[in-house]
């Protein structure tokens, strides 16, 4: 039995004017996984999500979500997915509760259950007090939480989140992350797109890095990082005598890396897990380090390696 929650083969979308927003994507997300789609603005993340959530038809290729084809069996897909897209999709003139009940009807939930479900969800996303106020009065964070609640009304197997924390303050972001982890622990597959490295790092089991409509790298965050390079441990010393001792102590941990005279740096394949051993070794040789710095390659480094550009560039010169 195929337990892929999401599967795509050569999925592509071309727009008028020959723009290949999505240029042939192959994906396989297992049931219960958290998959992160990481990429800069304009990479095609939102277009891909819109196709997977049946909002947009592909121009070539195919995909199935929750075992149903997105084109041929769209309604079945819709029954199994929860969607929270970029702009919190709400109606400012209705109250949170009214919207939740309406969404319930859309999914065929009997009226008697609809009210109860709305109540439950309001509690889960911490909107109990605001539930009967018009959504137009909600803050940005509250709207996102309501958006998430709306996506969960029918307890979907697969949850799609398109840039869920863009523009949110750090606290709202943490709250959302906690909720995503909880949902995933309860068995929901989560497909999220983001432009934030930290978010991909923190939440995703596997990450797909997308650029220019294509997936340029895919794997667990750790594996991706390891592909690019190993962590580097840099130790700052008091003087050259200490430096010499440190050099001897650290020789067996990894290859040396050029650095300044007062420091010694080695590649440390084990990363932070090997740190204690290094410190012990230094201590045994009578070295007293002035400072330790362990730098790991980031997903940004991965992106750089694959595309030659930085992911989180503030001033993006490209179109």
């Amino acid at each position: 039995m195929n337990d892929a929650a999401i599967e795509a083969t050569g999925l592509a979308r071309e727009f008028k004017g020959g723009i290949h927003a999505v240029d042939g994507i192959d994906l396989r997300v297992s049931s219960g996984e958290v998959y992160g789609f990481l990429g800069p603005n304009g990479a095609g993340k939102s277009t891909a999500v819109r196709m997977l959530t049946t909002l947009l038809a592909p121009t070539s290729g195919s995909a199935s979500v929750a075992g149903h084809d997105i084109v041929g069996d769209a309604d079945a897909v819709r029954r199994n997915i929860g969607v929270a897209l970029q702009d919190a999709a709400i109606d400012p003139f209705m109250t949170g509760r009214e919207l939740l009940k309406l969404q319930g009807v859309m999914h065929g939930i009997p009226r008697s259950d609809g009210g109860r479900r709305a109540e439950e969800l309001l509690r889960r996303v911490d909107l109990m007090d605001a539930g009967d106020r018009r959504v137009g009065t909600y803050s940005g964070g509250m709207r996102r939480r309501l958006d998430l609640a709306l996506a969960l009304v029918h307890e979907p197997n697969v949850l799609f989140l398109d840039e869920p924390t863009t523009g949110l303050d750090p606290i709202s972001r943490q709250t959302l992350w906690t909720e995503v982890r909880r949902l995933n622990a309860a068995g929901t597959t989560v497909f999220l797109t983001t432009q934030y490295l930290e978010e991909a790092n923190e939440l995703a089991d596997r990450v797909g890095i997308i650029d220019g409509g294509k997936i340029v790298a895919e794997g667990t965050p750790a594996a991706l990082r390891a592909e690019v390079g190993e962590p580097t441990l840099s130790v700052a010393l008091e003087d050259s005598v200490q430096a010499g001792l440190a050099r001897e102590a650290m020789a067996r941990f990894g290859a040396f890396v050029d650095t300044d005279e007062q420091s010694v740096a080695v590649r440390l394949p084990g990363g932070s897990s090997a740190l204690t051993e290094v410190v012990r070794a230094l201590d045994q040789c009578g070295v007293v380090p002035r400072g330790l710095d362990l730098s790991e390659p980031t997903l940004d480094d991965v992106f750089m390696a694959k595309t030659g550009r930085r992911l989180e560039a503030d001033e993006a010169p490209e179109s």
Binding site: R13, F15, K16, R50, T53, T54, L55, L56, A57, D75, R78, R79, I81, V83, L85, Q86, D87, A88, A89, I90, D91, P92, F93, M94, E98, L102, Q103, V105, M106, H107, G108, L150
Partner: protein, 260 residues
């Protein structure tokens, strides 16, 4: 099938409630036509029976009610369209599309909401007109017939608003089209008999389907005219509703395909 009905009902209910909550959405539909009804009646009070071509109606207000109701449902139709455009702009439309909502329900709910509004407006205007002396010659059955016309006109106007919204995705475009259709109403017998018109203007009015629809709607109120007039009017407005509905489905299909 019953799920689609439930969805239609829930979405129409939402559309109506939303309209009620935003005064700008329904006040113009009442205020402007009301003002015109008052001014026309006040200005043309001496017309009935005294001008060649003007039927011997009890009062001008009896003559003009049908056209006024049409005007009101037209305004509210474009308003519903603007509301749909706002849904599209804001992303709520996407939420509905990505849910298992029947495509038919998406379109029908807006049209149904306008029908509900239209009936409410008709009751309002007929009520006010009767306070000022108007009578429906064909009694209760005539009244029902007027409501049937109203419902159909509102459905046509609603579908017009929906098409504009789906094709443009912009609230401004949907709302801004109102003047054009308002203009179309003047080039008909909505407010004054075609028999009194002249030249090229009369030719246009004679060709305008609105003339025949309003004339049919007028028969039960003023008691002048025959069944043929009513039937022609009904047939035309039913035709408009059918055309409008098809246009809606086509526009929806285009939007969902992503070509817009």
């Amino acid at each position: 099938m019953s799920l689609a009905l439930r969805q239609t009902q829930a979405l129409s209910r939402r559309a109506v409630i939303r309209t009620l909550r935003i005064p700008q959405a329904w006040v113009p539909s009442l205020f402007f036509p009301l003002m015109l009804m008052a001014i026309f009646s006040g200005s043309f009070a001496q017309a009935p029976g005294r001008i060649p071509g003007f039927p011997e109606v009890a009062g001008f207000i009896d003559f003009v009610i049908a056209g006024i109701i049409l005007q009101a449902v037209l305004i509210s139709g474009t308003s519903q369209g603007a509301a749909l455009a706002i849904d599209i702009e804001g992303g709520f439309f996407d939420r509905l599309v990505s849910s298992p909502v029947s495509r038919l329900a998406l379109v029908s709910s807006r049209i149904l909401a306008n029908v509900v509004q239209g009936i409410a407006y008709a009751l309002f205007f007929i009520g006010i007109a009767m306070v000022f002396g108007a009578r429906i010659e064909y009694g209760f059955l005539g009244f029902l017939l007027v409501l049937v016309f109203t419902a159909l006109l509102a459905a046509a106007a609603g579908s017009l608003g929906v098409v504009l919204a789906l094709r443009s995705g912009s609230a401004e475009a949907a709302q801004g089209s109102f003047p054009l259709f308002f203009a179309l109403m003047f080039f008909s017998s909505a407010f004054f008999p075609r028999e009194t018109m002249d030249g090229w203007f009369k030719v246009v009015a004679d060709l305008n389907p609105i003339s025949y629809i309003v004339e049919g709607m007028r028969v039960p109120i003023v008691g002048i005219g025959d069944t043929t007039d009513v039937l022609i009017g009904l047939a035309l407005v039913v035709g408009l509703v059918a055309l409008g509905f098809i246009a809606c489905l086509m526009a929806l299909k285009r939007r969902l395909r992503g070509d817009l």
